[in-house]
């Protein structure tokens, strides 16, 4: 099984990585680039814990091959904050108490950021629809939805 050399940008940094054809984007981020903020939940595109931004759109990184990311721009949860400044969605989620165990949080943050990027003033039902692919077993979702509403105002 051969390796493929790919060039990509991850959180604004250029990366050159050698990957097998069958390595997922999720595994590359966690194992090769040690960006362990992105979580592996179901590995089947159901839970959304592995959600990252690929060329500006959210994807389930468990269902994307690393080799498909040649020349791509990837943003993970580690790339949301700049220096000491949290992204508004991060601050809002903390303020609203929308984090409990935290396992779903990286995926929720990316999916919410993507929603606000494409729809700066989402309604509650639009937020619910946008987060349908991000399962949270702790919070009951209400505080997460409140946080997205707050972040959209920032």
């Amino acid at each position: 099984m051969g390796f493929h050399r790919i060039n990509l940008t991850v959180n604004g940094e250029f990366e050159q990585v050698d990957v097998t054809g069958y390595m997922t984007l999720l595994d590359m981020l966690r194992e090769k680039l040690v960006l362990t903020g992105t979580k592996n939940g179901c590995a089947a595109g159901e839970c959304g814990a592995c959600t990252v931004m690929m060329n500006g759109e959210p994807v389930n990184s468990c269902l994307v091959l690393a080799v498909e990311c040649d020349e791509a721009e990837i943003v993970t949860v580690e790339g949301l904050a700049s220096d000491t400044q949290l992204d508004p969605i991060q601050k809002a989620l903390i303020d609203a108490g929308g984090v409990q165990c935290g396992y779903c949080t990286p995926g929720i943050l990316i999916a919410s950021r993507a929603l606000i990027d494409r729809n700066p003033d989402p309604s509650e039902s639009e937020i619910r629809a946008a987060l349908v692919g991000n399962l949270c077993r702790c919070t009951g979702y209400m505080r997460i939805i409140e946080a997205v509403q707050e972040a959209a105002k920032m």
Binding site: M1, G2, H4, T20, G21, Y22, M23, T24, D27, N40, C42, A43, A44, G45, G48, T51, M54, E57, P58, V59, N60, C62, L63, V64, L65, V67, E68, A111, A114, L115, R128, A129, A130, V132, G133, N134
Partner: protein
């Protein structure tokens, strides 16, 4: 051991031309598969249901990423156009709203960044959400095979669960829909175990449009998901609602015919009996919704 191991080993190829891709698939018959978004394929591979030795990424082939529309040729959707892009396309919203409505019901936003209509069709699951709308809009597939490009109607594409008329080396390049009849209205009702994102227990797609050639002046079509080995178009619905004036009673009769026509099975998502009853109720709801839209 990890409860969910990663993907089994395979080699990845991304050919530049249809000929190259098709020749490779033929040369490695049984070992190689084409893929686009992988949203279903990777899950089956992870579960070791499928173990291809080679995956052939066809997303880079000519026209795969294009969506085009004009009044004579209608809408052509490249096989690699993702569902989010389709849902947001102005020409789809204006002329093919039922297709957007069906695509919107597929899984989640981030999955739809990768999922495609052509992938949904080639996967040939009886539960495929966008297949009903594609059938009722008389979709035609542009398929590259060894002899070049050919066109096949979607109506005869499905042979069974996961089985299609595609031969080894065939690559579906796009799906085409001619301009639908004036005044066409549609409705997709999906019954899942939750309100959003699940696979369907029953899926009902209904369309209707004014038609001077029928006695009722209206032409209805109905397609069912998850209740037969293949996505099912219930021809009797068009006959019943075309031959007599459309009333609440004739709509009920058409919904009963849909229930009689389907052949569901018991599975993890629902029993056959439940599915039959839901086909009747949801077909009535979908047809009535379309009828009300047509009367406005």
């Amino acid at each position: 051991m990890n409860a969910y191991p990663g993907l089994p080993e395979f080699d990845y190829l991304k050919p530049d031309t249809y000929a190259e891709a098709s020749e490779f698939l033929v040369a490695h018959a049984g070992e190689a598969r084409p893929f686009i978004g992988g949203t279903d394929l990777f899950v089956q591979m992870r579960d070791r249901v499928l173990r291809p030795k080679y995956l052939v990424d066809v997303k880079g082939l000519e026209g795969m990423d294009e969506i085009s529309f004009d009044n004579s040729q209608g809408l052509t959707i490249g096989a690699a156009v993702n569902m989010n892009r389709l849902i947001a396309a102005p020409e789809v919203i204006e002329h093919y709203q039922i297709l957007a409505e069906a695509a919107q019901s597929v899984a989640s936003y981030q999955l739809r960044t990768r999922a495609t209509i052509v992938g949904n069709i080639c996967n040939a699951s009886p539960a495929g959400d966008t297949i009903g709308a594609s059938l009722l809009l008389d979709g035609m597939l542009n398929i590259y095979g060894g002899q070049g490009m050919r066109q096949e109607p979607l109506s005869t594409f499905f042979l069974g669960p996961g089985e299609t008329i595609l031969q080894t080396g065939d690559i579906v390049a796009s799906i085409q829909f001619l301009l639908p009849p004036d005044g066409l209205k549609g409705k997709y009702i999906k019954l899942g175990r939750n309100k959003l994102s699940d696979l369907s227990i029953v899926g009902v797609t209904a369309v209707g449009y004014p038609d001077a050639d029928t006695k009722s002046g209206l032409h209805f079509k109905l397609a069912l998901a998850s209740v037969a080995p293949v996505p099912l178009v219930v021809e009797q619905v068009g006959e019943i609602l075309g031959s007599t004036p459309v009333t609440e009673e004739t709509l009920k009769g058409a919904a009963e015919a849909a229930m009689e026509a389907c052949t569901p099975i018991d599975d993890v998502r629902g029993s056959a009996r439940y599915r039959k009853l839901m086909v009747r109720n949801l077909s009535l709801n979908a047809l009535r919704d379309v009828w009300h839209k047509l009367r406005k």
